[in-house]
C-alpha cells in the first residue's frame, strides 16, 4: 500500500480544512478561507463535510497501518475542527429565573448541608453574642475574641449618629458588593476542602456575634447607632454567608458521601447541585449590599429599618419554605442509588 500516494490524495482536503479552521479561529466565519465556495452557508456546509471526511480518515488510519505521525496529525486536525464546529455553550439569561426561583429554593430546602451550615453559623453567632453581652459570667470574652483595640475602634466609629450623602451611599454599596460577596465566594470555594470553609464560617460567626453582643451591652458607647446601622441589612447578609458556606460544603461532602456514584462523578453531581444555591447566595449578598449602602447609613427612623428587616426575613422564609417545599421532583435532586453517571443539569 502506498501511503505517500494516499496521503497526497487526501492531503488536499486536509489542508483545505486547515485553511477553514484558520479562518474560523480568526473571525469565527469561513468567508476568508479563500475559495468562492467558502462563503456563507456554503462554507459552513463545506466545513462540516470536510470535518466528517477527516473523522472517517482518522477512523481508518489504524486499519490502514498509517504511520503514527499521520495519525497524530489527523487527531490534531479533527480536534481543531471539532473545537470550531462545536463551540462553548453560553449562559442563557432566560434560565436564570428558573435557576433562582425553582432550582435554588428546592435545593436549599432539601439539602442537609444548608441545615448544618445554618446551625453552625447562627449557633456560634448566638453563643458568642450571649457570651460577649454577659460581662458578669464571661468578663474577658469580647476582648480576647476581637481584641480591645478593635472594640474601641468600633465604638469610636459609631459614636456619632448616622448622617450620609448620596455620593457616600453609592460608592459604599459598590464596595460592599465587592467585599461581602467576595467573602461569600471564598466560603464557597473553600467548601470543597470542608475545613477551611468551616473555619471561615465559624470565624465570621464568632467575630460578628461578639461585636453584636458587645454593642448590646448597656454601657457600650454608640450601641444604639450600631444597631441603627446593622438592623436593615442583617437578615440578608447573615443568611447569604450561611448559604454560601452551605453550597461549598455540598461540594466537600460530595467527595465523601458519594450516593453510589464514583467519587469524581459524585463531586461533579454535587457541584451541579451547589451552583444554584451559590447563585441565590450571591443575589442575597447584592440585596444586602444595596441595603447596607443606601438604607443602613441613612438617618431614616429606626422603625423603617426594623420594618425592612422584618420584611426581608419574611421574603427569605417565603423563598426557602414556600418556593422550596418539595414538589415531587426530589428524584431529580436525590439521584437514586442505582443510577450511574453524573446528572448534568447544564
Amino acid at each position: 500500500m502506498n501511503v505517500a500516494k494516499l496521503l497526497d490524495k487526501r492531503r488536499v482536503q486536509w489542508s483545505e480544512l486547515e485553511n477553514l479552521c484558520d479562518a474560523m479561529e480568526k473571525s469565527g466565519r469561513t468567508d476568508k478561507a479563500g475559495g468562492v465556495h467558502h462563503r456563507g452557508a456554503e462554507g459552513v456546509t463545506r466545513f462540516s463535510s470536510l470535518y466528517r471526511a477527516a473523522c472517517a480518515d482518522l477512523a481508518l488510519a489504524d486499519a490502514y497501518h498509517l504511520p503514527p505521525g499521520t495519525v497524530t496529525y489527523l487527531h490534531r486536525l479533527v480536534a481543531r475542527a471539532h473545537n470550531q464546529l462545536y463551540r462553548a455553550n453560553k449562559f442563557e439569561p432566560s434560565r436564570l429565573t428558573e435557576v433562582l426561583f425553582h432550582e435554588a429554593p428546592q435545593q436549599i430546602f432539601a439539602d442537609p448541608c444548608v441545615r448544618i451550615a445554618t446551625i453552625v453559623f447562627f449557633g456560634l453567632f448566638a453563643l458568642s453574642m450571649f457570651m460577649a453581652w454577659n460581662e458578669d459570667l464571661f468578663p474577658k470574652f469580647a476582648d480576647s475574641m476581637v481584641g480591645t483595640e478593635q472594640l474601641e475602634q468600633m465604638e469610636e466609629m459609631y459614636e456619632k449618629p448616622l448622617v450620609g450623602s448620596l455620593d457616600h451611599y453609592v460608592s459604599m454599596s459598590g464596595f460592599y458588593i465587592m467585599h461581602n460577596t467576595g467573602i461569600g465566594l471564598q466560603c464557597f470555594a473553600y467548601g470543597i476542602l470542608i475545613i477551611p470553609c468551616l473555619y471561615n464560617l465559624a470565624y465570621n460567626a464568632l467575630t460578628l456575634g461578639t461585636v453584636f453582643g458587645y454593642m448590646a451591652r448597656p454601657d457600650a458607647v454608640g450601641g444604639d447607632n450600631f444597631y441603627h446601622f446593622v438592623t436593615a441589612h442583617g437578615p440578608f447578609e447573615l443568611t447569604a454567608i450561611a448559604l454560601a458556606a452551605a453550597a461549598g460544603l455540598r461540594l466537600g461532602v460530595g467527595l465523601f458521601y458519594t450516593n453510589g456514584l464514583a467519587r469524581i462523578d459524585s463531586l461533579h453531581a454535587s457541584a451541579m447541585r451547589a451552583v444554584p444555591v451559590m447563585v441565590a447566595s450571591a443575589v442575597l449578598f447584592c440585596l444586602a449590599a444595596f441595603t447596607e449602602g443606601f438604607l443602613s447609613p441613612s438617618p431614616a427612623p429606626y422603625i423603617v429599618k426594623a420594618v425592612w428587616a422584618i420584611l426581608s426575613s419574611g421574603l427569605i422564609s417565603f423563598y426557602f419554605v414556600i418556593l422550596g417545599f418539595p414538589r415531587g421532583e426530589l428524584a431529580v435532586i436525590h439521584p437514586p442509588r442505582t443510577s450511574s453517571g453524573a446528572h448534568d443539569a447544564a
Binding site: 484558520d22 504511520p67 453560553k90 448620596l166 453609592v170 460608592s171 470543597i192
Partner: protein
Amino acid sequence: MTGCPDVILSTRTRYRRMAARWAIILVIIFAIFIISGLIDITALGSFATAGMFLVYFAINWFYGTFMETYFNGRTVGKWACGIRVIDIDGRPITGKRALIRNLLRLADMLPPVALTSIFQDMPMIFMVVMIPTGMVALIVMVATPRLQRLGDLAARTMVIVDERTWRLPVAKVDDARVPALASFVPADYRISQSMARTLAIYAERRHFLTPARRREVARHLTIPLVEQFEFRSDIDPDLLMYALYYKTFLTDGSETPDLGPLAGYSPLLRDVNKPQGLAGDAAQQAKIKAGPAAEKSTANRFDFLNTEGSR
C-alpha cells in the same frame, strides 16, 4: 530527506508566535497600569467609584468564567500559551462548568503564605500580602491522569494543548539503495501493526542519530529479520529498516523498481559466493559498464554492507 526539518521549522514558528502574543499582552498590561495610574478615580464622582469596585469584583471573580464561556474555552493567558479548556468528553465547556472551575480556583491556590513569613526583615505592612502557593492544585494534578485540579474535577473539564498548523511528516526516500534492497524482501512477508508503527517512528527519528547509533538501534530488530529473509549477516541494519519502511508505506507492492546500476547486486546469503554477489566484483563490473561517472553510485553500493560489520 524527510519531513523532519518541516516539523522543527513549525515548532520554531510556533514559539515565535507565542512570544509575539506574550509581547502584545505585556504591552497592554503596561498601558493599563500607566493609564489607571494617571486617573484619580475619586475625582470622577461616586458612581465611578462604585463602578470601579464592581469592575474590580467582576474581573477578580468572573474573568475566567466569562472568557472561557465566550471565547470557546480560552482566556487571554490560555490563548497566549496555546491551551484550551474542554469537557472531559471532548465537548466544549458550558457556562456553568466554567463558573465552577473558576470559583474553585481559590481552593486550588491554597495555602497562602504571608510575604513576611518568607522575608523576616520586611516591614509588617506586607503581612497583608498573601502569596497563594497552589499546593492543593499541584498535588491533585499529580494524582489525576488528566492533570486536573480540584476545580476541573468538580466541573468535569480538562485543559488541552491547542495544536495549530502542523506539517504532515512523511519521510521521503531518495536513496537509490533503499528500493533495491526492498525488492529483495520476500513478497509473503506480512508486516504487523506494531512493526509498522516501529518502522514509522524509526524513519521519522533516524535523522537525529549518528550512523553508528542508527545501526546499534536498528540491529535489535533486524537480526531475526536477516535470518528470516536469508540475507547476508553483514547487511546494514539501518538500511534494512529503511527498506522495510519504504516497502510498507511508499510502494504499491506491484511495481518493480528501476534498479539502475545496482541491478546486479543481491543481498541474499546464497548469493554470497556468486561473482556478482560480491560487492567489490559488482563495483568492478559497474565501473566497466558506466565508466568513471558511476564512481559515486558504486560507493553507495558498498554501504549496503555494514562496513563496521562485526562491531
